[in-house]
Structures are given as C-alpha cells and as structure tokens.
Symmetry: D3
Subunit: 314 residues, 6 copies
C-alpha cells in the first residue's frame, strides 16, 4: 500500500510562455520507453514479483524503495508539461464564446494534449504513442533485473540530457536538472548492487553518458544540497536495509553514499489555473467552486479549502 | 510523492495447487482495459492534471485519494497471480539440472509469465496483451472525468464478477471478494460526486451489474467489517475534504458512508518461495542469501532480515 | 448514409454444442488482417475517398456497393461466433448464484470473449489481437486499390479455407461455405475491374488458392442458387453502373456474371438466448423484458415485440 | 444487411484553402478513441451481440438504429478531411512532371494522408495512430453498455467541441456543427434509456460538457430544423420500437423528443476533383474516364455517368 | 547465413543542409507498411518458410535472392536519413557545453530521431510508428505469396513516388531514384513469376502507378546502366535458377530481362561525422578514437583504420 | 549489402512428432523482445547509424559483424518452428478433399501459424504478438549501445534457457543448445567491448544467468568444437578489426577468445515437405514442380534442381 503526500519532489517555476511543441518533447520523459512511467513500473513490478524477499532483503528494499520515489517523478513530469501548456488557450472565459479558443493549436505536434487532455500531460511519448506494459522488464532473476535497471537508468539519463538540449522552457530545465541528479543516484544504486552481488566493477563506467553531471547548471543546486549521493527512504517503517547495498563512494564526486530516512522536504505544488474555454475543469469553473464551497459547509468542513498549494504568480 | 508500506490491503491464502491458465485469466484484472492498472493510472493522471484544485478541492481530494488506494490493488493482483503460479516448476533446485523443469508449461495460455517473467504477473491482460496508456482518460473536464470513472468502475465490477465465475483458485477468490467490495466503494464515490455536482440521481443504478454484492460469499467478511461503506484516507495529512463528496447512504445496504483516517490495517505480505530452476531469484538462491547476510553485517545492520513477512505454510 | 435491414445474408443453424476454441479461431474472419472488418473498411474508405467519381463511375459503384455487402458479412461472422459460444455457461439463472458459472472457460483460448464480451464476438483476430486501421489500404490510385483488393480477397479466401479445415462446428461451416462463395464473387469482380482497365488477363489465376469452390460441400447450395456469379445491388437507387465492370464469364464455371437489383432475400436472424449468469443482458433478463413491455405499452406500441426473429430450437 | 444511399447527412462546403494540419486534427473525430468509427463500431457490435432481442426489443432497436446513423457520420468526417486536403498539391497534371508536386507537405503533421492516402482521410486519430478494435465496448450487459454509451457520447461531444475550437476551416465547422447536434441526440437517447431502465435521473447532467449547444453558431440551423430532438429510423421496416425509449423532453430546450421514419433528406455528395500528381485516381485521370465511358457503352448503360453528385465550385 | 559487404548499392551525396522533417517523411520508406523493412522481411520469411524448395526451386531462388537485395535497401534508407540529419546539431563539441545544442529540434516532426536515436534513422514510419511483424505476409501458398509480392511492390512504388514529390533533399532524391528502378525490377519479377505459373498476363499493368519510370530524372542513370532490367545474384553459389522465372521483355522498355552473377559494384559508404553534443558516439569522440587506436595496436593490427570509407566533403 | 548462403549455422533434426504448442513457445526466440529478430535488428540499426566509423572502427566492426551472424539465427529459429509444425496436417493430398484437414489445430495456442502462415514461423512472440521496431535500441552513444547489447544478450540467454526447459522437442533442443553457445559469445563480446572502452570489469558477471553453459547437454558439442570462444567474420573482406576488442580469456572456460575468417561450415538446410491440404505451396504441389521443371528447361538450366538440400528422413 502507499500513502500519498501532496508535495512535489522539487520546486517548479510558475507558468510562463506556453510552448506546446516543447511540452510534446517532454512527453518522452513521461511515456517514452525510458521515461518515468517506465522506471516507476519496472521497479514496482520487480518489487511485487520478488520471491524470497527475506533471502535477498537488501536488494528487495532497494528496488521497492526506488519504485516509491519514481511515483514522485511521474508527478513532476506531468506538472512540468501542464505548466508548459498553461495559457495555450485563454485562461479566463472572457465573452463566453468558444469560437477559435484554440487557434493555432492545430499545428501543435501533439494535438491530443488539447483534444483528449485538458492542456495536460498524457501517458504518451514524444511521438504521441502510448506507454505500454511491454516497457516493463521483471524477469525475477535478480542479477538480470539489476543489469536491466542499470541499463534503463543509463538510457534514461541519455533521454534527459537530450530533452534538456532540445527544450529551454524554464519548467523543463528545472525538471531535467532535478531528474538528472536523482536518476543518477538510481544509476549508481543499481551499479553498486551488481558490484556487491558479483564483484564486477561498474563504477568505472560513470558518468555514462560520458558527461559530468555538474556541467549542467540546473543540476548544481541539487548537487550542492547533496541530493546526488543520497537515497531517501520513502516509507514510515520499511526498507531498512538499503544501506547494505547503497554504500561506498560516489563515482563522480567521491562523496560517501548515504541513506536518509523519510522523503525529501520538496515543495508545495503549484495550483495551475483553469482553462475554461477548453472545459478544464468546466466552462464555468466558478460554478464548481461554489458547489464545492457549499458541499464543504454541508459536511462541516472549513469554509476555505484545506489543501495547501502554491499559487504561483504567472 | 508517496510513502510505501509493505503490507497488503487484505490477507491472501498461501500457495496451493498452481493454476497457470487461471492466473492468465486473472491478468485481466491487472492489465486489462478495466483492470487495476487502469483505475490506478486513470485517477493518478486525473489528479496530476487537475487545474484549479483549490476551487474544486473536495473532488480533487476524492480522486487523488482513490488513486492512492488503487496502488494497493495492483499489488494484490500481482500477489494473487504469483501465488497461483508458485510451484508450477519445482521450488527447489533438486539435482541441479534444468532439463524439463518447465514440462507442461508450453501449454499454458500465457507463456510469457514463465519466459519473460519469473512465474509472475505481467502488465498484460487475459489475452496476453500489454496494458497501454490509451486506457487512461483524463479530459480535465470534471463532470466528464467523473462520468468516465463511474463507467470505469462499473465495467471493472463486471470484469471482477466474470473472473470470479471463471476461476475458483482460493487466491483468486480472496482477491475478487476484496476487490468487488472496494471497487464498489469507488463506484459509489464517483456516482455521489456526480450527484453532488449535477443533481442527477445515480444511486438508483446500483448495484450495477445488477447483482447484490452480498450474494458473493467472499465479499461477506469485508462487508461485515464495514469496508463496503468506507473510504480510507491514504495520506498522513492531505485529502481532508473527501467527506464533502462521499456522504449519504450506501445504495445497497442503506449504511451511512464514512471516511476513515489512514490506511486499513491490512496484512503482512506472504513471502513466496523461490523458483530456482526458473532462475528466480537465481539458480542458487542460497548464494544470494549468503551475500545479503554478509552485506547486512558489513553495513552494521542486524544479522537477520529486518523486513516483516508472512511465511505461509504451503 | 445507410439503411439497415434486420435480416441475415444467409441462414445459420441454431446453437448446438458450444465450442469456445473454435469460436476463437473464427475470430480471424472477423478481426484478422484479412477478415470481414478489413474487407468492409477497406472498400468503405476507398469509396469515401474516391475523387472524380463521375469520371470513374463504374469503378466507384462497384467498390461502394461491395462495401455495403461486407457489412452483412461482419454481421454473419458475429452471429456465428455468438452461436458457437451460446451455452458455454448456463443459459438460465438457476439457483441465482454465480459461483462457478464459467467453470472451464479459463482454459478457453480467448478469455475476453467471456470477460470483456458477453459470450460474444470481439473485433479481434484468432490470436486475440484487435482489428486495426492499419489494415485499411486506400491509396486513391484506382489501379493500385484494385490490385490491393484482388490480393485482399485472395488472402481472405485462403483464410476462409483454412478456418473451414480447422473448425467443424455447423455454424462455422455454414458461415465459411457462404463467405467462400460471396468472397469469390468479389475476387472476380476486382480482377475483372483490373482487366477492364488495363487489359491484363487475370481470369487465368482462378481459382486462387487453387482449389475449386465446388469441392467444398457447404458452398454447393449457394452455387446452385447462382450466388457465385451475382452481384447484388445493395441500394435503393444508386450504383447503377456495376455491370460496366462486372461482366463476362465466371472463371470457374463459365456462367455469365450478372448484377441483381436489391439485396438477397437472406434469412431472419436467430434470436440467441440470454446468458444470465454472465449478465447478458442482465442477471435477471426477465425484469428487462417486463420493463420493455411496459415502455412499449406506454408508448402506444403493440404489446408484443414487433421485430421479427427466428427462435431456433436449440 | 444494409442498403447504401449516396447522399450525405448534411451539406458540406466545397474545397477552399487546403489546410493539412487542420485536417490532421479532424482525424480525431474519425479514428480517435471517441471518434465516429468508435461510435459506429461500438453500437454495431452491441447490436450484433445482443441476446434475447425480443425480450429487450426497444433497447435493441435504439442501439441498432443509432449504429446505422453513425455510418453516415464516418462518411461525413472523411468527406470533410478530403475537402480540406483538396488542392494541397496541384489538381491538374500540368506539364506532366511530378517534381516537387508535394512541396511543403513534408511539414504536414500527418504525412501518411499524402503518402499512404490520396490526399485523404485515414482510419487514424489526430496523432496519426490507427483506430483499433480495443475502442469497442460490448459487454452484453444492457445497463452497462448503455452506461458506456452515455459516457462515450459525452467524451465524443468534448472532442467535437475542442476540434471546433482548434479548426476554423469552413468544412470542419460545418461538420462539427452537425455532429454536435446529432451526437447530442444520441447522448440524450442513451441517458433516456438508462432512466427508463433504472429510474436514475440523468437529464440533470445536460448539457455535458456544460455549454449550451445553441452557443455554437454552426449548430443553429440544425436546431432550427429540429434535428436536435429527432431520431431518424434508418431502415425500411425495422426498429419500430425506438419511441418506447426515446421519449420525454429535450433536456436543453424542453422540446418533445420524436422518432421520424426514414433517413433525413441530406444532401448530394460533392464530387471532389482528382489529384493527378499524387496519382488520385491516376496520373492521367482522363484516360480512366475514357475507359469508363467505353465500358458503360459496352454494357448498354447511358453514355453519361448515372450517379448524381454535387459539382462544387471551388 | 549471410556475408556482409561494407559497400552501398549506390552512391549517396554527402551531408548538406539538414532537413529533419524531410528525414521524418523518408522514414515511410524504412518502417512504413510498404517500406524496405517490409520488403526485406516479407521475402526473408517467405524464403525461410518455403516448403518443398526442390519442387519449386526457380521460385524459391527468386524470392530468397530478392530478400538479400532488400537488406541493402534498408541500409540505403538509413544512410539517407542519417545524411539528412547530419548537422541538425553542431558536429563539433565546441565549448564543451550542451546547453541548447538541439535548439529548434523540438519542432521536428519525429523528435525520437534525436532523443532515442543519434540524429539517425529509426525502424519507424513517417508518422513515427514502429515497423511491426504484422506487415509480413507469408502464407506458404506460392501463387498467393507472389500475388502479395506484386501488390507490395506496387504499393511500395507509389510510396517512393510520393516521397520523391514531397522531399527535394539531394540525398532523398538519390535514394528514391535508385529505389524506384530497383523496386521496379522486383515488381516485374513477381509479375513474371505469376505469369509463368498461371498464364495470366500481368505485363499489361505496367507501369503501375501509371507513370513511366524514365520520367523521373534521378532514375535515368540507373536505367542507362541497365539496372532496370537486371537481377543481381546476391550469393557466392546459390540461387542459380532465377533465370527460369525472370525472363522475357521489360514491360516499359522492351529490353530483355537478365540475371547477373554477384552483387552490383555499388559505392563506398560515406563516413558521416559525429554529433558529439548529442553523444554520438560520445561527448568526446576523439577519446574513443584514441582508445580504438591503442586497442588496434595491442592486437597487432595496423595503426590506421583498415575499413574503407568515403569521407565526403560536407 | 549482403550475400546469402543457403546453409544453416547448425544441423537440425528432421521433422518428428509435430508439437504446435511447443512451436508457439519457440516463437519467443523469434519475435519476442529478446528474440533473434531483436538481436539482428538492434545490431543492424546500430551499424547503419554508426557515425565516425573510422574513429571507432574496432567497435563498428564488432557490431556490424555480429549483426550478420544474427541473420543466420532468425533463419534457424524459423527452421525449427517449421520442423515442429510439419505434419500437423497431412503432408499428402490424399483423397483431394480439405474437410477436417486441420482437425484439432483450433486448440493450438497460435492459430495464426496455420491460418496466416503455412504451418510456419511468424514474426511474433510466444503470446502471438508481432515483433515491433520498438524493440530496437540504437542511441548512437557507443558505451550506451554496448551497455544495452550486453543487457540484451543477458536477457536473451534467460529466454533461451527457459524455452529449453519448457520444450523438449528435438528440434527445439538442437536450436537452443546452439543459440546458447553463440549468444554467449556475443554476450562476452559486448562485455569485453565495454571493458576495453571503460575499464569496468564485467567478466565477473559471467555466467549470467548464473548457470554454467556446459550444464546444458545440447551445448556440449558446440563447446567441444570451440564455438563458445570464437567470432566468425561474416564477410569476404570487411570487419578486420574485431580482434582489437574481442580478446582475452573466456570467463567460463578460460580459453583464449579468437576471431575466425569466414562463416562456419554449418549444414545443408533440410527441405521440409509440403502441406498440400493447407495449400503449402499449393493444393497440388506436383503441378508446381512440373511447371518449375519446364521453366528450367526453357531457360537452358539443368533438368534437375540445382540447389543443394538435405532431404531428411522423417
């Protein structure tokens, strides 16, 4: 089971100039073969299907815990795409007509972000194709699964670097800077697991792709905070044996790898504005707000919304 | 972000007679269009893409929180399939040969459970096709998303009923009994959300499919415990406004609907035995166990595994 | 636009012994690359996308009219599969329990016929994969489209022959006997169209696959009725120019090819019994019948159902 | 079986400025999950697989008849796309060279409309992916199928609204204006069917998405003609019991719902010009016309084409 | 088994102005339904699955040998796409930063050529969808397979013509000119095979699509060299009986068809420059070169690379 | 370009008892994610897309050459499946009827082997799904591609082991014995390439999966012949620098790795008998043989077939 926390793993900038084609490119990090849905679902299935957990507990704990972090990554990729699409049509209802509200969006690379979705992320890749369960590898053979995971993180790092180069929207840069650091930790973790199981020295392969993480400016704040050498334990009580596998020195910086109890502090999520002409969440969002307020009162809840969000200045 | 808890939402029986074809049928509840991956990912994406959360907070809280519960459901479906496949090949290494270790499994309906997976669940449906992102509906229009969700839970209930009829393996029956009750709660929740937003009276449609839940014997313990009228709040602090939407009477039993803080107690997961001849987690699982023990010691962790599991009597 | 007639192109036998695996094989004729959905949709799209219809009217009329007949073919394939699945679970509600109602069906090759469908046909092929728009070829180049269509009918004939060999259920035999004769007409029609356009002599390729149609006993009644040499004009007033293309001698029998105004007489459809334990159309079908009767009366319609069906003796 | 009528359900404007990207967006209404192929095939399969038709005749008649209307809708979507693509390459052969005939089209979002198709509609969605049988839902459970259909029409209405906003080509506007009105009728029809079966009051959900249909200018002529409250009976003799289900008041206008015998008058189809440099229907379309004329004469048919079309002034 | 020769079937121009959208269009000739992967894999599977080869040797030899040539065609399509993408990002490392290295490419139609691939060809079609085994037709029925192959080559010719019209990049023009001539030979070969087996006169259908090959300027050099009437025997010793089937006159030119022993001379492949900012083959390609040189020396190989390439002037 | 040689990489036994379900399982080694189509196409695309070949020549030579060997592996998998399906219907025409010729095959797991194929291999996996281009990884980053290839061969080895365990048909055992040895060589080759590039010691991971190759009896003859330590150079003149990368000691046996010029001797292919009732290659194969003989004579070729095959005693 999981508990959910309405905070983001890192801060994202507020909406600025919308950039649909850039948002379509960022989809690769969501639903691509090496996107975050893949990392999330690969490790989740591997943890579900783990046999003889007690016999291989440190490895189980590592995989199961990284799976938990990856949920936060699909959340961030979605938030980034949604930020980049905000304002692609008017964010207020205006004259109440819908005529031409999406002018120009017919030329967007991924039109389904606007027709199927509400100016929003889809479980698709950058060519507009859906994520598929065929992206999951869970053989049950521990060394083989770890070999896969190391490869998966390597390919994912490549994808993040290339999306970084392709897209200069501030939200995308904030995202890729964060994901490169955190994905780098997972890449090291799986390499260390293989080393600890087989004796093969994989640390010599880092960084792979062969560019120092610190060369990416948006990675620096996360490195400075130490997030490049740290696994957070995403559980109240479980996954206590990660440190049996995740240990030694960081292959790029030489820092000692460490395990931290609990999730990172993260940031309050931005509450993105409605897109009423696209019926998100309605053509008249204020009517929903009224109903919500009434229902809240009827239920004896506070008059104002209880959830905490960041209301970013656009 | 999420925190993960290594407990199951409900107890499952230990492995008994393996039944690969039945396990292949249960895959529909995993990776089918109306399986648990679909409910999980639909509500997750809807919650990620929710705009103007503050304006529609009770509805956001409802959707985001149900998403969290669904993670526990894919976990249970996987555990059920894995239980049903345990022992389909010898669970000990025996003479050390691999010759004919999977005799007979060539006739199994889903051979990839044994070739790609480790006698284990796959993100596929009952015809062996992968789950796909095309199963996600997240339009951003609140009424429309809720309409979809009500339909989704209705179709999911149908699938659970039919799998129940088709498969009599004890693990599958325990699973479907549980999922029918919990999915029924979600079906009601979305219907109530629509009622509260639009005034349309959907309670008259229950039960749909038109058979009383209490007619299914495996549902009774969960109904007796009250799980048919209860939403658990799967978060330390968030999703406080569910009760603004999830209220009124249960359409089948007349009980008052209620929101409970925190997850259900659930049960310790069964630790399923290795399948060494299928290299799960290795041809020599005991070697991995030795390495794990050594790594644990090196890291200053207890000598014995720290994680708690249920070691079911086969 | 179309008008629909509730009659079948040919008579089918009533349900007898259910045969799920045979029904799964017959799916190839529904949703396979060369199944009836493909012939229907190929000719339909070609007719929709036909440019300069007036300039090429006889060819347009031929393609558009054959498209119309193909609708009746998908109807018949569905009816056949449904017939073969009738009785795979009890056709009456019995004791009102659902326990084990689908015993044994977990071993069926296509479990989705029972989980997703109501003991019924799906838009899938014989390996349980969905029909896809990629099966449609409509290049807009007339000779090329006709070349494709001749190939398509040739491959479809092969599939029908092989399904005939594989499945001996009476409904499947009645179906394939009919489809072989009617598909044979279309194969000739496209070959004649190419001959009339280019001068290439394709009649020498018949029969292809190289076995005389009259060797298949279930084809004989249709040949005797003359249906092997006849195109029906499936329209009140349109498609008058088919005879400009569909003319000359039948390559197997030497009969003169002919065009007949209006659809064939066909047969009343069998009204297949409910599968209440599978909730088709409900767990209590008689309740629906009562509601239907009441609604009919309220609307001033006759007390008894107005539609004509054949109530086959099982 | 069906009869086909070579008339369109509504008039479309002649080709004007070609707009490939807009045509690619309109594909969502053809081959998208909620496009017209989906509505057509969903209701068609539901009608094929309907068991105990006599017991539930009014509901069968409704579904089977709406299926028939949907054929006319895929026809119109195709015609619209074809109109929007006309002239994207020269419509005359010119100097007989093919060099650069499709200059610029490499930047079109859906290049297969020009490479696979003949400047024409494809069975694909707006991201260039094929329609698939997985879009069909036909559970056999009547209430469940109707629940699905109501959801399907709701999502389809959303897609039409968003395509309307995105595309201002006159053909697309004519199409969406028409489809919004006719799809709205089907949405009401399925809601009424559920109400009549279960007592749940769904009329309160209209309009959904929550914008009055009359706000869309291109809908007005159809509303004025009364097409928003009318089901046409698309059959010479069958489907007589629709009125038992489709009755009461229109939820937006309060008009009495009504059933009309026979199809709407519609309009003559436009005969779109050839695209000879793209080989549609040939590089030398006039040669085909000569052959056609000769074949017509040889067959004793009139010298001039018999089919009636509208030759629109470009 | 095969032997591989590092020469191209024809010369291609060096990289010039990169044109990503044109390269995306050319993908249709790689991974489209009628692209070179399809011709290659269709004939390959037909040759693998050929039963009774001795009884039908000339036909087997023809199909197996054409399969071998098609490998060279996928090689050329890849080389063309790679040429067209060269320089889309800087081809030197410059200041060592990766910031903005792929500016502008977010608007490219196929972003995966840059994210998944290294500015390179993918096994996809022009809409960015992967080639699939469903494109293979290998029925085992000889006449039917040949009928398919004739259709396949006809549709492939159409695709090449349309890509020719759409794309004017010199590499694409060189490619399509070559493929039109060589594909034309295969089209004739399969038509002749059918004629020789059945007596049907297919030569009258040529050219199809109905435009003379010699009208395409880039085809002329290949026609002048005689490559339009020639099958090369791609084997040291096998496939001696092609001439039993591939004989008679060329349907367009009247030249005598002929079989030539051995592959064409072809041309040295261009060695395309690295794209270091996209990590192809590395961020520091010179380091790899140093390692390679050292490894060569250690292994007693020449100091300089032994492979022959053409180093094209950009 | 390639030259093709009509010899198999290893000998296969003649047809014995047909085993359709086993043949369906072996499909995983053909069209599965880790089957031979994947290894073939991955290395082929990597070699096509290799930039700066001269700078990284030894690595290019290695990848391009292994690609060439993989063609022979898909050939062998096809031959194995075809062998296992031979005789599943009568291999002679008998009484000339087709009635019931495929009795029983409706229960086969992969019915398309008989309906779409001619008792033959398909480009599908063991669940009957087609191979797809999404299985290809070719990032252009050399270290990353090699990392992938090492993982790919590891997963492929797992699949071969599990198919070995599942299927005891003599042809499948001969196949898997051979592929395990040859795939093992490729696994070592890619590991060595990574070691030589980065210094990471991967040899310690062997064998992976962790079972000695020599434990599989069917591998022994190939090990004894030395095929476990040998790369064949599949080219007349190219790929001279493999030894710069493929060197050092075999991680399981300690033997010195070596490069051998030219392909292995292999074996003559078995000429599998026709399946006339399934129209492979015809209902009357002897007629085709007569035509072939006549065509051979007309072309001045020897009267008897020139190709060499092994005519296995059934």
């Amino acid at each position: 089971m999981i508990l959910r926390i309405d905070r983001w793993g890192t801060e994202l900038p507020p909406p600025s100039d919308p950039d649909p084609n850039a948002a379509a490119a960022v989809q690769e990090l969501m639903g691509g073969r090496f996107g975050e849905m893949s990392t999330f679902m690969n490790y989740t299935f591997q943890s579900f299907n783990f046999r003889n957990k007690q016999g291989a507990r440190p490895f189980y704990d590592l995989v199961a815990n990284i799976a938990a972090e990856e949920f936060g990554h699909i959340e961030l990729v979605a938030a980034t795409i949604n930020t980049m699409l905000t304002g692609a049509s008017p964010t207020s209802n205006g004259d109440g007509s819908i005529e031409g509200a999406m002018d120009g969006l017919k030329d967007a690379r991924n039109t389904q972000q606007f027709i199927a979705g509400g100016h929003a992320a889809l479980p698709q890749d950058s060519n507009g194709r859906p994520w598929t369960g065929d992206n999951v590898f869970a053989s049950g053979d521990l060394v083989e699964d770890l070999t896969h995971n190391f490869f998966l993180e390597t390919a994912a790092r490549q994808n993040k670097l290339r999306v970084y180069e392709m897209v200069d929207h501030p939200a995308a840069r904030a995202l890729t800077g964060y994901l490169l650091v955190r994905g780098g930790v997972h890449q090291i973790a799986y390499a260390r697991a293989i080393e600890n199981l087989t004796g093969a020295q994989l640390m010599k392969m880092f960084p792979t792709p062969r560019i120092a993480t610190e060369k990416i400016p948006e990675c620096l704040p996360h490195i400075e905070r130490g997030d490049h050498k740290r696994i957070y334990r995403f559980s109240p009580d479980d996954y206590q044996e990660i440190a049996a596998v995740f240990n030694g020195q960081h292959p790029e910086t030489g820092d000692e790898l460490e395990v931290v109890d609990g999730p990172p502090e993260g940031a309050l999520p931005n509450d993105l504005p409605p897109q009423p002409k696209a019926f998100v969440p309605d053509f008249h969002p204020e009517e929903i707000a009224e109903i919500a307020a009434r229902l809240r009162t009827d239920a004896g809840l506070p008059k104002e919304p209880t959830g905490e969000v960041n209301e970013p200045a656009a």
